[in-house]
Amino acid sequence: MKSEKVMSTGHSKAAKEFLKNQTYAKWHDATFWAVRSKRDNMAYGLDEWEQLREKASQIKRHTITHLDEYLDLFATNAEKNGCIVHWAKDANEFNEIVYGILKNHNVKKMVKSKSMLTEECEMNPYLEAHGIEVVETDLGERIIQLKGQKPSHIVMPAIHLNHDDVGELFEEKLGSEKGNHDPTYLTYVARLSLRNEFLTADAGMTGGNFGIAETGDIVVCTNEGNADMSTSCPKLHIAAIGLEKIIPNYDCLAVFQRMLCRAGTGQPTTTFTSHFRKARPTAHPMHIVLVDNGRSEWIGNPEHWEALKCIRCGSCMNTCPVYRRSGGYSYSYFIPGPIGINLGMLRDTQAHSGNVSACTLCLSCQTVCPVKVNLGDQIYQWRQQLDEFGTANPQKKLMCKGMSAVYGNEGIYNLGTALAHWANLIPSPLMNCGLNPWAEGHKMMEFPKKPFHKLIKDLEK
């Protein structure tokens, strides 16, 4: 029985495969560390950075614990502006509402900008099954859509593909020049293709980085301008936004807008920070769909409610040494890394408990988080709950029981430590067999003849 089978999880198996390709794995780690470094430069460049983090955290704690008031205010103002506001209690209802709106407007094709919420609700396959063509317009999302893959990172979804992967994909799907894999050329090919989609789509959907309660604005931040193109040509705009994205007012928005891109990509701002209050005069009224899908339950979770502060910047993934060395596809939830581990557990403890051990508790994640979500502390707390969920690893449980017994009994502990140095004599093939997972990556340590508690007597003389 190999140790690998005994203690492994979905994540550890996938990570092992990921690391087999050392060239790729090193590139992946270096790429995300570079983004983390760019974030660092942004942080070091603002004397008020730590003050902003603290304010952002406090604004979020206030807002999400008064969210019902702010949601009501947001909806009232959005409706005053002439928008139609829908409330979806779960993913299925969200998909039904969106389909209903599209059907009412005879929509055949919808372009959309990036929305992790629509990914969460699995909206695209739902709409496709109902005969509506959905075209992703964020370049990274479009690439993985054409390839039939899921995003591997929430901000850089196609990061796992190199320019040859994309070049070959575009040759096949977009008719690009064979062998021309230059990223500038490929971006231009996508531009022309997507331009045609924007011009011929019947509807455009955006997500929402923020919703402003005081004014009813939906705020969308992009570098590409695809949210703005999606809403400037088609005559119908649907905005999808999770409950927790609503914030009180513009003074609060200033704090978050300044941090979102600095934290996530190391830029001082996204190219576009767009405020949508109502549809343009030549279009149908704007629809806004507010989505619950578990959020109204999560706020009641005593250890994990602060996960609702998250603004989906991605900086926790970039800094996570485990994410960098295992990639987004190693995690069972569609959002990877530290926030993904936590949100996955809130979503489904049975399906996603395997991710909880994909962490060394180094706490880098919560030290970069612009809104101070206590990501690492929460992972520690999820671990304490696995037993009650019935998802604790039985081997781990047994090992801990064993350790407890030894540490709890000084007699046994002293005997064990006195005999420990005999382990030095265990022949290597035996010591390094599959039952000893430590020996997979390490040479066994030497046990000195006498433990400290035997040496102290001589020192005290």
């Binding site: 790429t31 570079a34 003050q51 902003l52 304010k55 406090q58 604004i59 206030h62 807002t63 614990t65 008064h66 019902d68 949601l71 909806a75 409330w87 979806a88 370049l139 690439i143 850089m156 979804p157 990061i159 320019h163 994309v166 990223p183 500038t184 971006t187 531009r191 997507l194 331009r195 570098n223 590409e224 301008g225 695809n226 703005d228 193109m229 400037s232 040509c233 409950l243 513009y250 003074d251 200033a254 704090v255 807008q257 300044r258 001082p268 701002t269 190219t271 576009f272 920070t273 767009s274 949508f276 209050r277 109502k278 343009r280 005069p281 507010l290 339950e297 706020i299 009641g300 005593p302």
Partner: protein, 197 residues
Amino acid sequence: MSNKEDILKRYRANVREMYDMPDLSDIAAITYGDPLVQFIKMTESVGGHVIEVKEGQDINTLVREMYPDAKEIASNLPEVTIATRNPDTVGRARDLNGTDVGIIRGMFGVAENACVWIPQTMKEKAVMFISENLVILLPKSQIVNNMHEAYKRIEFDETYDGYGTFISGPSKTADIAQVLVMGAQAARSATILLLPE
């Protein structure tokens, strides 16, 4: 009970401890000795261009010089005489496709990140994104230090009051192998013409 009431009721019932809104007036946000200098520096760093228009200089001549090969120029601004298309009078938004230069007005700039606040002031806002090249007229005295100051003064147009945006440089992406490319789905270049007072 409606979905809205259901959701709000459930949420309210589940909230445990409540927290107060912090005071935001003591945020020591960055300011610059000369915000205009910083704005220009930041605009160049995000891939935009800045041209300081001289007193009496005709922007139409200037734009012609910048884009000698431009065939289609879109603008609804009264001072722009070289426009071949008008976003106020086009039949459909998509008719603006193929615009070489779109000329629009910005209200004020933000030094810390080269953002320019641009409320929608035309019937079809597509002109701001569909144009290959974007030219933004900006009064050079209207530069604020940071987004806190910016968000205290954003305004929407009286007529086209449904949309406004901050634009910082040209559209861009690094989604293919992390190589930065200017001109993703919107303008491939952005030039700020700083107008004298």
